[in-house]
């Protein structure tokens, strides 16, 4: 998942709310509140053979989304001979300086987390051929100074980590269509960008596939597979808007909702819990584990293996087997998958469970095309 910083909203809300008698105090309060959420960076062990470094985007290490997943993956590889560290960015302007810091620190491998870091990573990879790089959610190719050369040139020290999440989202769409009592299911995204819409597209096509196979007319709200447009929050931090979208979907009769907006999924799951009208499909990680407060309404999760792929890169570097060949997470290599139904397993008909399982096998074998 992608998260963009929403500074203007955050800060203006505070400033607007606290401006009272004098601007001076308003500004002080705004400046002071900027300081919330201090995180204690983990202390790195003593210098060892492999040093794996993450350059995070502005979401920060606690974003409960892909930054957190990448860091979780990196931490899982830490051993006596592998140290891990991360640098967080406060704004888009920090990416290039942060990566230079990591190069100067002689990191064995530097992994950029998030598509916005791509340019900075590509530049650094070209300037430092001796250092290994990887980038999450981008192909990692050099597309020229104007970014318009396609397919572009591969770099021998940069690996792109991408995910065919439409495969698992396709399964989720089929499952949702089969699970729905009202004949309506829904999805919405944070922003209209590929790492988000690939989920929504897969979901809607999964619903369409169910209709084709079963001769049903289940409606998928929130994404038009032809127009390539749908319902979006406009960011990844507006809980109120995500909640409003979820309520609207419920009023239209949707009883399965698949939010593709990182932590905003909590708004939808919360509505599912209070309204008892819908269930939620979690995104990115297994919500049952990462957001257990919602476990009673989580039908399943469409997992994107940012953590396992990041861990894979670091392990390869440690073994001296780093390759710049792009990684594509699929159902076949478990880079993306549909999580367990957990507590809701007894509500999903055994037949439907079998069909979803078989669908996964058919997608892997290429019998069913998801795009």
């Amino acid at each position: 998942m992608v998260r963009l910083n929403q500074y203007p909203m955050k800060d203006m809300g505070l400033l607007g709310g606290t401006l009272k008698k004098s601007l001076r105090y308003g500004a002080v309060i705004a400046a002071s509140t900027l300081a919330f959420g201090i995180t204690v960076a983990p202390a790195a062990p003593a210098a060892t053979a492999v040093k794996a470094c993450l350059a995070l985007d502005t979401g920060g290490v606690d974003d409960k989304s892909f930054n957190a997943a990448a860091w979780r993956g990196a931490q899982s590889t830490a051993t006596a001979s592998v140290t891990v560290k991360y640098l967080a960015a406060q704004s888009d302007a920090d990416y290039a300086p942060n990566i230079k810091k990591l190069v100067d620190e002689k990191c064995s491998v530097i992994i950029g987390v998030g598509f916005l870091i791509n340019s900075a990573i590509v530049d650094a990879a070209k300037a430092n051929p001796g250092t290994k790089f990887a980038i999450v959610d981008q192909d990692g190719f050099d597309h020229g100074p104007n970014g318009d050369q396609y397919p572009g040139t591969a770099l021998t020290n940069l690996k792109g980590l991408q995910f065919a999440t439409n495969q698992s989202a396709f399964q989720a769409g089929y499952l949702a269509a089969g699970f729905s009592k009202t004949g309506k299911v829904a999805t919405y995204g944070g922003l209209n960008i590929p790492p988000v819409t690939i989920f929504m597209d897969g979901f809607a096509k999964g619903v369409a596939y169910y209709n084709k196979v079963k001769g049903k007319k289940v409606v998928a709200l929130g994404w038009d597979t032809v127009k390539k447009d749908g319902t979006f929050v406009g960011g990844f931090s507006d809980q109120a808007k995500a909640l409003q979208i979820s309520k609207n979907f419920e009023q239209q009769g949707a009883d399965v909702i698949f939010p593709v907006a990182g932590g905003l999924g909590g708004a939808t799951a919360g509505q599912s819990m209070t309204g008892h009208k819908s269930v939620t499909i979690w995104v990115d990680s297994d919500g049952y584990v990462q957001a257990p407060q919602y476990k009673s309404v989580l039908l399943t999760s469409v997992v994107k293996g940012v953590d396992t792929s990041v861990a894979g890169v670091i392990k390869d570097v440690a073994k001296g087997m780093f390759s710049s060949t792009g990684y594509l997470g699929t159902l076949a290599n478990k880079g993306t998958y549909l999580a367990s139904y957990h507590d809701l397993a007894k509500k999903v008909a055994a037949r439907l469970q079998n069909e979803v399982r078989q669908l996964g096998i058919d997608i892997k074998s290429g019998k069913v095309k998801v795009s």
Binding site: V2, L4, Y7, P8, M9, D11, M12, L15, G16, L19, K20, K21, S22, L23, R24, Y25, A27, V28, A30, A31, S32, L34, A35, G37, I38, T39, V40, A41, P42, A43, A44, T58, K85, L87, A88, Q90, S91, D92, A93, D94, A96, P97, K101, L102, D104, E105, F115, L116, S119, H143, P145, N146, G147, D148, Y150, N192, P194, P195, G234, G235
Partner: protein, 388 residues
Amino acid sequence: MKFFRKAVSTIALPGLAFLSALFVSGLLIAFSDPKVLKLAHSPFKFIGGAFAAAGKAYLALFEGAIFDPNLAHPNFFDGFYPLSETLVAASPLILTGLSVALAFRAGLFNIGAQGQFIFGAIGASVVGFKTTMPVGIHVIAAIVTAMVFAGLWGGFVGLLKAKTGAHEVIVTIMLNYVASYFLLWLLSTTPFLRKGRQDPIAPPVKESARLPHLAGPNLRVNLGIIIALAAAAGVWWLLNRSTWGFRFRAVGANAAAARTAGISVPLVTTLVMAIAGALAGLGGAVQILGSEYALTAGAGGTFGFDAITVALLGRANPIGTVFAALLFGGLRAGGLTMQANTDTPIDLILVIQALVVLFIAAPALVKAVFRIKQLKVGSGVVSKGWNG
């Protein structure tokens, strides 16, 4: 001697506020370090560990903001890479700070530097990647476009205030939302999509529209800092030496008296907001053409909001604003190194910045702490109330 005393009294408050902020932040650094907390059983070791932790963090801050000996060989000059980063971070801040400071002096609260910055960034980016022009002219065209876009955006607020009495604080805050969502929408339209990408990132500006580097390709410091300093000199001249500047200040000091004296308050209001907008827009242009080269949804960062702090710290004075912006630029650049070298969270830099402002805004506190009886406190204009 008199000059010296004046200089001391001017910088004493910000200086002492900064020292106080460093002290409190040092405590935070020490207490958030698990290694220090482990020493809690022995008071002496604990204090020593705390000093060591804070000292290490501040050393990294210095190394990240001014000079890093680790980078100084084989090429000694490269050791100044951090200083270059400080200047890169300070350039847009100087310009947005000037935008806020100028408006302050005319009695206007420009909370809209963020939106104006975004419009400047949009203008610079469009000209930068869409058009083809000879080297030199391209940069100037991009900068002028940025200033016009942002000037109109800011001037619109002044016009609204002049014609309808709409309060500029509310209007600028709201227009910040409009600007950031407009940017988000713009980045989803076809002309602003980078080929082969659908992420909200515009194509990079062409080489011919980029601001030249001042100290070789390895250091990112660029013409932007010169532009920013020139703008500061220009604003100083405008405010202190020109007739219009006198009118601005007259309106800021007492709008009713200025009107009686024959100054057109609506015209001044509109003009000041337009110039303030153009300054913030110039900041956006410097950011895009000088160091980022591409428009993104987060291109605005927090430059417009930090500008309010910078202008306050600089006492709404162009020269003070430059130094305040340099300080904040240094904190930004140094903060990244502090995070990298000592695992001190980067958020702590925000704490230091907030504490500096807190101490600045509470002169009585600084006076009490340092037992100073006479200390020149703030200029009246800055602390004027909501209905000023």
